[in-house]
Symmetry: C2
Subunit: 405 residues, 2 copies
């Protein structure tokens, strides 16, 4: 096993760790669920609250463009989109709903068949399920399996998570997008929640048409921070949000009688954007832009590779199986370890100050956001897991996750 | 004209003005558009940001119930609903969409006819228009006119703003609700954005079934703060949100295969609630609870009455006509003055440090939130308007609102 200290010393992104608020007494390996706050964020949020107090409604002209301006930064520096194609708005769930419903409504001739993966993130499956007349499941989405599902020509939309939230597997963004188009003229709506800010994403290079994502995970914008949506420019005029809100209206404050959506990406707005929280999104995107996606990609590969090596060396003997792909190009920035005692082991880890998370039924997830995670964090965290397994500390915790009613 | 200083001295809510951040050099009469920050809010938001840094994802169990807990406070102290009937979530627009779509979907036998008012707030008209097969317009919603519109029995939903965002007219919440039910078995969805926190609202006493509202106006929760929704308990099991998001799922983190919505109000959640901003909503609601809706109602009546008196005395000679009803029970907490030069007059007022607002084509709106507005504010603001009209200061500003493209 390589030496964590040496890896940290050679890490070109090492300095970014100091850009986050420290977590004394804790090893935080759950940034894939909720990212850590950048040091600057609290001050920026306080400045925004002060601006509200000082300028009140007169600040609106400055605030109103922020969802597009921050979207432009995200587009350019994080996800490989163009200016005017990304909007920060609503939650990921609402954005997914808006784009999926817009696609289905744009092609009323076609049956509302939607292709997705039974392993897709729950909110995606639920939202798509409620919109679709039929879900056609593709269990291992590859260009071939997706093409086969779209081949009948009746599929209005396909939608996948770019990185599997459980296994960490990264799908072939370009290949699947092209295959769905070629096989069934089917657009693909990507969920970047577990990839953007963790690895290199280049939507235009991949030919992607539609995407949504989350800012509170790898983009570190805080709990419940808004999501974002991407619509390639040539599709703007063909798609209409099902939620015909006033922030999507052309010349909004004319408050005219009929709905006449903006020609731009702003047509996918619904209500008033969350102005108080937007500086946190901007700060999260700024850190990613400074690091650069190629550096993120390289460090994510190295960190997850290190974690997999440690899992093999330290944890295999305790019954853990890594389910994350061994090829770094096929994974994101988290590692999933399968174990029948994953739930109590995760609680025992937390008792030792190592925050990881559990995904039903049997996966322990270690999230390794490249900007805020050190190799030492990985080694210490997995070292604790080895120790607690040897000492059977999981026996002190309930064997199963309680059902929440 | 009564003496403003004497009215302020006798105001039982006068002490609440010190609970807001002062606005030196400014008279703020636009709290109906964006409310002023309570003094405590910045500290509470900072505490939340610190909690994110300190506790990270381990704070989720505490955060996750806040949208319901704050909803309960709003229910009990501000809008006359019961615990478990109000949820803070998404934007007002998205909430209106969710509830309107849920009602339309619940009764697929009925045509998707929706009754509303051409003077309803733009986002409401647009959202309803996109959902409905037909909009049946009712120009002056009263129990009689609404009953007539619902009589044919084909109306799936009626929806109105409780207080007209332009004229300040307050509709008959109880009478219209009962009339729509009686005439066509039609549920009414109320938008409380311009009433809750400004006047007394008692949804249960009015028999109201459904409502949405905004927290960034009279509830002072900050720009882009989330909205809320109310669904009377007996309707929970019959309505399903069209946005089948994971926060509405029963036992959410089981992440099960099928969508199985919460039996409770939480079924109207979509994505992750805006945790960073929720303390501002709680603080806004807390102030209202301390004041009490009856006191709000009394002061709103007195402040708007004073403004109307001043408008008659100071402004009628300059061509202003008050369009807000003279009966305080028939208005909210803002006053609308019609004038063909309303746009440039509003700009000239701003140049004097008096922030009011304009609603096309010819309305100058003076928002008088009862907790944060003094009688002196009203007199000073309207006094400035009189002076600038006499001096024709409006001539220094463009005659028409520029079209925003």
């Amino acid at each position: 096993v390589p030496d964590a200290a040496a890896l940290d010393a050679a890490d070109p992104l090492a300095a970014f760790r100091d850009r986050f608020v420290p977590t004394p007494g804790r090893i935080y390996l759950d940034g894939n669920s909720l990212g850590r706050p950048p040091r600057e964020t609290a001050a920026r949020l306080a400045t925004r609250a002060a601006e509200w107090a000082d300028r009140l409604v007169t600040a609106w002209p400055d605030w109103v463009d922020e969802p597009r301006r921050i979207g432009d930064a995200l587009a350019e520096h994080v996800i490989g989109a163009r200016h005017g194609e990304v909007l920060v708005a609503d939650s990921t769930t609402v954005n997914l709903f808006k784009l999926a419903a817009a696609v289905l409504a744009a092609d009323p001739e076609r049956r509302r068949v939607v292709v997705t993966d039974p392993g897709n993130f729950p909110t995606d499956r639920y939202v798509l399920g409620a919109l679709a007349a039929e879900i056609r499941w593709v269990e291992h989405p590859t260009p071939d399996t997706v093409a086969a599902a779209c081949e009948p020509g009746d599929v209005a939309l396909a939608s996948f998570g770019h990185v599997d939230y459980r296994t960490g597997e990264r799908l072939d963004l370009a290949g699947i997008t092209a295959a769905a188009r070629a096989a069934g003229a089917t657009p693909v709506l990507w969920d970047l929640s577990h990839s953007a800010g963790a690895i290199a994403v280049d939507l235009h290079a991949a030919g992607a048409e539609l995407a949504v994502g989350c800012t509170y995970k790898y983009l570190n914008a805080g709990p419940g921070a808004p999501g974002y949506l991407y619509v390639r420019e040539d599709l703007h005029s063909r798609l209409r949000s099902p939620i015909a809100g006033w922030f999507g209206q052309r010349d909004q404050f004319a408050m005219g009688p009929a709905y006449d959506p903006e020609p731009s990406i702003a047509r996918f707005h619904a209500g008033t954007p969350p102005v108080l929280g937007l500086p946190a999104v901007e700060e999260g995107v700024r850190l990613m832009a400074q690091a650069g996606v190629e550096a993120l990609e390289a460090k994510a590969a190295a960190l997850t590779g290190f974690a997999l090596e440690l899992a093999d060396s330290y944890l295999a003997a305790h019954g853990f199986t890594a389910v994350t792909p061994r090829d770094p190009a096929r994974r994101g920035a988290h590692v999933a370890l399968r174990h029948e005692r994953a739930w109590p082991a995760c609680q025992a880890l937390a008792a030792r100050g190592v925050i990881a998370d559990f995904r039903a039924p049997d996966i322990l997830r270690l999230g390794l956001p490249p900007l805020s995670t050190s190799y030492a964090d990985v080694e210490t965290g997995i070292g604790h897991l080895r120790e607690l397994m040897a000492a059977r500390e999981f026996d002190h915790f309930p064997a199963r996750r309680p059902r929440v009613t």
